[in-house]
Amino acid sequence: MGSDSRRTFLGLCLGGLGAIAAAAVGWPLFRYLAPRSSKESAGKIVIPEKEIATGDAKFFEYAGSSAVLVRKKDGSLIALSAVCTHLGCIVQWQKDKQDFLCPCHAGHYSPDGAVTGGPPPKSLARIPFSVAGGTITIG
């Protein structure tokens, strides 16, 4: 084996070892810095049913984001993401008008989360929930 090919071979070995070392450092570092996935942090949220009156909304944190529970005028419940689908601001519940307003760019949503005005491109995402024994379990 000539000295040039030996040099290339050793260079390749060194490069390979360097790449393995970089991966051994880089992977833990990436995992350490990566945000926790919403699945990992999505515990169930329990809210007593009496805490939310007819026509009211209750905001809470769910899966690392903001969510809202609404009891509509007809008494039915709905859980929605409170993050506006336009640019990610948090919507506000307007009890008198029974709709959601996004204060950033005046997007409007119905109590069901459907867009009724302004720039939002799509409805607010729905969140599954169940009601049993006087408590509402979200997630």
Partner: protein, 367 residues
Amino acid sequence: MTLLKSIVDWVDVRIGVREVAEQELTGYLLPRNINSWYSLGSILLFAFALQVASGILLLIYYVPDADKAFKSVSYIMNEVPFGWLIRMCHAVGSNMMVLALLLHMLSVLFMGSYKRPRELNWVTGFILLSMVQGISLTGYLLPWSQLSFWATTVATNSANAIPVIGPYLVEFLRGGKLVGAPTLGRFFALHVALIPAGIAAMIGAHLFLLKRTGVSAPPFGQENTSNQWQGDRYHYEHHPGGIPFFPVFALEDLRSIAIYMACFLAVVFFDPYLFFPKDAFIPANPFVTPAHIKPEWYFLANYQTLKIFPNELIGLSLQGAGMTFLAMLPFIDRGPERHPLKRPLFMACSIGGLLLWIGLSVWGHLS
């Protein structure tokens, strides 16, 4: 390669980067009889960089609040992916760095490298040792465990022995009568900002002095081992016909760093709790003092000295005198001879001092 060469050419014609490389790397000649002990400085630089990197990563999740600190450390250890690895690297790294620092100091001592004109190199090195001890002490409190809390209580309390200002000094250090939330705040600021900045500045000064005086030749394998400098004018110690720093000694440095890393990772992976007594896993409780609370291994000799002398002031003064003697060593030991075997008095004193330190540490550990 052509692209790389073009980039280097582009930079070179502007700032003469090849000239700097020639001067500082390939043309920077070291004594032919240089040995592996000279790599300890590079190991320490590497260890310090590792401490800074792991410390910055820990800051992402650590909360410097007395109510949340322990929980945040538990969270790092148990919940954050690879959080245990980052924390163990930081905790084990601090101990290994002190060990490397002590070895560096011993090699300088035995090879007589502290002698003139290198008095300032020794003094800056000594200041670095003190600052590393300071950063270790302040970092010890941050996990807010029983060990942290009570070790800091004992350590800060020793300042009480200083006449007149002692009690006020203790209160000033703690930010209150007892160790508490204000202590955590000030120790945190010292640990992550003030002392690291001081260490970085002092490393800069240490390296600057090394560059100005030149590397000392080891006193081994030479006929004349006495100090040649007359002390009348500035002299840079050249090593004509020596070995180039790059690539020869840089590879030696790399090998030494690899050996250090092997030892360091062996502790991190196979005995991560080597430096953690069980009280390190219990949250701080200001109302319950655990039995046999002890400082880190490198403070055990100081701890035992304070225990031996019933009068705290005498114990503290002796330690102060010992540290002052060590700091002033180049100004006290002014003989020109550098070979350890040609300095019997020095050898007897330093080996005696070392054995005393080890003996006190073992006694402190077992008592």
